[in-house]
Each structure stands twice: as C-alpha cells, then as structure tokens.
Point group: C2
Chain length 205, copies 2
Amino acid sequence: MPESRPLRADARRNRERILRTAEIVLARDGLSASMREIARQADVGLATIYRQFPTKEALYEAIVVARVRALVDEARGLADSEEPGAAFFRFFTRVVEDATHKKTLVDALTDAGVDVKAGMSGLSREMVAVIETLLTRAQQAGRVRADVRMPELLALLSAACLAAERGRWEEPLRTRTLSVMFDGLRGPSLGPAPGAAGGRRGPTP
Amino acid sequence: MPESRPLRADARRNRERILRTAEIVLARDGLSASMREIARQADVGLATIYRQFPTKEALYEAIVVARVRALVDEARGLADSEEPGAAFFRFFTRVVEDATHKKTLVDALTDAGVDVKAGMSGLSREMVAVIETLLTRAQQAGRVRADVRMPELLALLSAACLAAERGRWEEPLRTRTLSVMFDGLRGPSLGPAPGAAGGRRGPTP
C-alpha cells in the first residue's frame, strides 16, 4: 500500500493510532477537542502529534482522507471477489453507511473552515475508478442491468449519501431504502403491462 | 383554494405577480436585487410590495412557500387521476425537477439567514399527506410494489432532491437516474437466481 509520504513502521502505527483516536475524540467533544486530549488518549507525546499534524485542521483533513482511503482500499479488495454482484452492492452499502456517520465530522470541518476537498481530488479519482471496476464486473456477471452507466450510478450513490447524512438513515430505513435502489439497479421490474389497471406483479422467479 | 390570509382579487393578483417576478429577478441578480427593481418589473408600486412584504426576507420566504404550495396543488390534482401509477411517478419527477432549479434560491435564502422552514411546517404536512395518497392509489393499482412504505419513499425522494440540487441534474441524467429508482419502486427485478454467476436477466413481459 503506497503512502503519500514514506514513514517508518512505528511512525506509521503512531499516525494510524492518532487518526483513529482523533476521530473518536472529535465525534465526542466536537471542535473543542484539544490536541493534548487526543495525545493522551492515543498514548503518544504531544510533540509526536505536532510533528505529523502541525495544526488541528491538518489533523481533521487527514482523518477524512484516511476514511476515504480505507473505503478505496476496501473497494479494491472487493474488485477481485468471486461474487461481483454481492461485491458491488456491498460496497454501495458501505459508502452510504459511512456517510450516515460522518455528518458530525464533516459539519465540524466545515465550521472550522477546513476544505477537505483539497486533499481529496486524487483520491476521488481513485474512488471513481474502482467503483467503475465493481460496476463493470457486476454487469458482466448479469447482476446489474447492462444499461446503467457511471453518471447515473454516481448520481444514485451521491443521492443516497446526501440523504443518509442529512436524515441520519439508521436501520431499518437504510436497508429498506437501498433495497429499492438495488432492485432498480438489477433491472426493470416485473410490473404489469401498461394500461392494465389493477394488475398485479407476478412473483420473482 | 383557501388562502392563509383573505385578499381581494386584485390584491391577490398583485401578490402572485410580485412573487413570480421576484423569483425571476432573484435568480438573475441574486441578493443584490432591490425591492425597487422587483416593483418596476412587476409593474406595481413600491408601497404595494411593502404592504404585503415588509422585508426582503419576508418576500423570499413567500416565494419558497408559494413554490411548495404550487407543488401541493399539483399533487392534489394528480390524486384523482385515472392512471394512479403515472400520476405517482409524474409527481416524483416534478418534485425533483423543482429541486434541480431551486438551488440558487435556497442558497440565497440561507445566505440571507432566512429560515424558510418556519413558514413550511404546515405545508410540509400537507405535502406528506398528498404524497401518501398518491402512493396508496398507485399501490392499489399495482403500479408500485405493495411493500414500499412512506419512510423509504420520502428517503428516496429527498435523496433525489438533494443530489439534483447539489449536482444540477439536467437531462438526460435526471431521467436516467429516476428511471432506475422507479424500476425499484415498481418491484423486485427479474434478476438471475442467487448463485447463478454469469446468468442473464429474462425479458420484461
């Protein structure tokens, strides 16, 4: 896994622990969270944090980039799956789950004036590329309708993420809503023929 | 059509013309639009505007309320349709179209610190009630799957609206994205049986 900046193994472990801890502390305490508290909880020295993250904003941005990085890595792992349909729908679900819980973080960042997009442009391209791989494989396996293209897939995914963030989609709402979208992505339904008012759908084979 | 405040016919016509004009002027000039310019374009006196809308914020809020009011009235008209399925999907599309174009307005209002929700709570309840009528009729006609309930329908609708606003969904993206959602709302697809890797969907009857 290439790092944007080479780090020794212990430095990388420290960095990961700081990011994980900072995310938890930030979610709990919001913007009032201090670097000192994050250092204490992560069990590293304050100087260690400041060496890698000169400002709290740099730390916040790194948290978001790390979350997206983790999603991209997860997608790459799924891209080799022997069940491309399940892999595709699982990843769609994971992205929406992530969006449901990141609202606090993104709100805090926006309030702090942090432009997380700055560090994300390259990562977003990677994300789009791996989503396209998942889509193509699911379509080749006949699990997603062949006429769905990337623009509408990304539109559906961003729609689900925005609404999940805004509406705090928890279970069972998330599963129920996504299952409607997923049925649409699988293909046209067995609806009644046009004009057959009062008709009933046939059972799915 | 009940009005929240009884107005004489000419006062009501003036009010409607002011709102229509203000919406156009606001979309063109943004927040710098002056009440004087709106009065000039609407061909009414400045005093006439101020009598109904004491502040620019009151005018902005009235524009948004009028747009939602118009949507609710449209939904009521569709609720008697002899094609409940077409009526349901048409209204869903109309709401999303409206969201695509209202972004400028909502952004301007938020920048101005206007809380449009204040005037909307009663109207939102009416909107939800009429959407439920459209859903129930479409389900009774077999055009929408029977197991879809209001929470996930509203989740899908708000997802589409948020993404349409944010992403400026224009044609053909809007149609392509909604058609996937609508297929999902019609019912489970004719997907291949689980485990049948490489299987192909059967044709829709």
